[in-house]
């Protein structure tokens, strides 16, 4: 359904070009659920942004249902059925939750929208709220998830949906992501949570802008754990002193 072929992403900065993603190859099949995990700054959100068209790859191709969408803009990809719940949803002065959900649904009746209830927000309390700084971090995050559920695209990418979500709602979140996944969806959840990694068909490990491993959770999880427990990642390389006792 969605293919990334040799996708690379470079950014121009003041200090010159920096490489964000390198040679990403992915085949995301219809009806499957995926988790993308990996260290902070490894490039997980960048993969999502490249799929959504927010960042355009500097090399490689992206295919959606065998159609090359590499050069399509964000709007066109959204219209084809790609959707992305941001890691850090922007806030809007003056816009209300109901306005955002209406944009996401385009058609259909707000009254039918279970999307807020599904993630534990009571519509009466939230529909009229402004999507501005008055919402808490967890609230805005949940509204972002509700918006993607309302949009109901074919390809659903959730970027760290659990971040800032309380323990009670976390279970509900997992349930709703799972129960709204249909045969013709691809669901991608960027996450660091074991529970989420356990519910998907395939785990993709991104490290240093590259895909370093992928596979089902039984084979991947032990290796991720081992790699995560490795102390070397948390140590700094100081002048002349290198902490290099990493087993890998």
């Amino acid at each position: 359904m969605l293919n990334l072929i040799h996708v690379g992403l470079e950014l121009d900065t003041e200090e010159g070009k920096i490489r964000i993603l390198e040679d990403i190859n992915l085949e995301l099949g219809k009806g499957k659920m995926y988790a993308v995990t990996g260290p902070n700054g490894s490039g997980k959100s960048s993969v999502a942004r490249v799929i959504m068209g927010i960042a355009l790859p500097t090399s490689g191709n992206i295919l959606f249902n065998d159609k090359d969408i590499t050069d399509l803009g964000i709007t066109e990809r959204a219209k084809l059925g790609i959707g992305y719940a941001f890691q850090h949803p922007p806030r809007f002065k003056g816009m209300r939750v109901v306005d955002m959900l209406e944009i996401a649904m385009r058609t259909g009746e707000m009254a039918d929208c279970q999307c807020l209830r599904n993630i534990g927000l009571c519509p009466d309390d939230y529909l009229e709220r402004a999507l501005d700084a008055s919402l808490s971090g967890g609230e805005i995050k949940r509204i972002e998830i509700a918006t993607l559920l309302a949009q109901n695209p074919k390809v659903r990418i959730f970027d760290e949906p659990e971040a800032g979500i309380d323990l009670w709602s976390f279970e509900q979140l997992i349930d709703v992501v799972g129960s709204t996944h249909r045969e013709d969806n691809v669901t991608v959840v960027i996450s660091h949570q074991e529970k989420i990694l356990n519910m998907v068909d395939e785990i993709i490990l991104v490290e240093n802008g590259m895909i370093s491993m992928k596979g089902d959770q039984e084979t991947i999880w032990p290796q991720i754990k081992e790699s995560a427990e490795c102390e070397c990642r948390n140590s700094c390389t100081r002048e002349g002193e290198i902490y290099a006792d990493c087993p890998r």
Partner: protein, 305 residues
Amino acid sequence: MLTALDKKLLQETAGLEEDPPGAYNIRKDGEGIQRHSLPGIEIVPKKDKPGIDIIVEKDRTGTVHIPVILTQSDLSDLVYNTIEIGPGADIELVAGCGIHNPGHGEARHDGVHEIFVREGARLRYTEKHYGEGEGKGKRILNPKTVLVVEPGGYAEMELVQIRGVDDTVRETEARIEAGGHLVIYERMLTHGEQTARSDVVVNLLGEGSAARIVSRSVGQGNSRQVFQPRLVAYGPGRGHVECDSIIMDKAVIRSIPEIWAESAEAELVHEAAIGKIAGEQMMKLMALGLTEGEAEEAIIKGFLK
């Protein structure tokens, strides 16, 4: 008789479909054409100059509509209105001006409002500006409002001008006495070659007087805007000024909020920001399927609501 055009202008400025509910005065092309008083809400023409006196009796509640419409070119209309909201009264007043300038000459309305909100009274005041017309003639509006809020009174002013008016200079001056409250919401969108200037001076006089000014604007095209709200506290008053603008294209926006305390008991805050639409906001809406133009519009619409 009201023509179809008159009705459209009335709809745009005052949201009127039919005869207004409550008391009203409709002014067209420099003359009062319809007037309706109610017991306790008296509307009388001024004797010495163009304009009306609106006198609301003590404890009266109700609505008053006083729209002004201009449908001709080469017309300059100057009007003085005095509005007196009696003690304890609770009134919704809808003013506003709609201009349809068909020709190439100017169509201009200068309104001077004097408003007294007496002890314990409440006033909700809305003033909408609307302009249209096929000619090249400028549509000019220069409202001046002088407001007094007496002890315990409350006034809320909503001043709206979205497109359509070429030049506007708005002056608002308020005097808030002990325990009086004033809230001003200003919404403005200019485009093309339009210019707009808004000067607000609020004087907080007595103990417990308070004022809040919230100004939101969008500047597009080559338009120019200047906002200069000033809050002066002479005693233990509280005030907050907030100016927030979205700037686009080649527009120029100046925002100069001023707070001025004459007393150590005063608490005054101002905030001002000018910026373009955030990229992340655009991307979020486009990821929901809106085009760039639609996303921009949705953001502006929300911002100015």
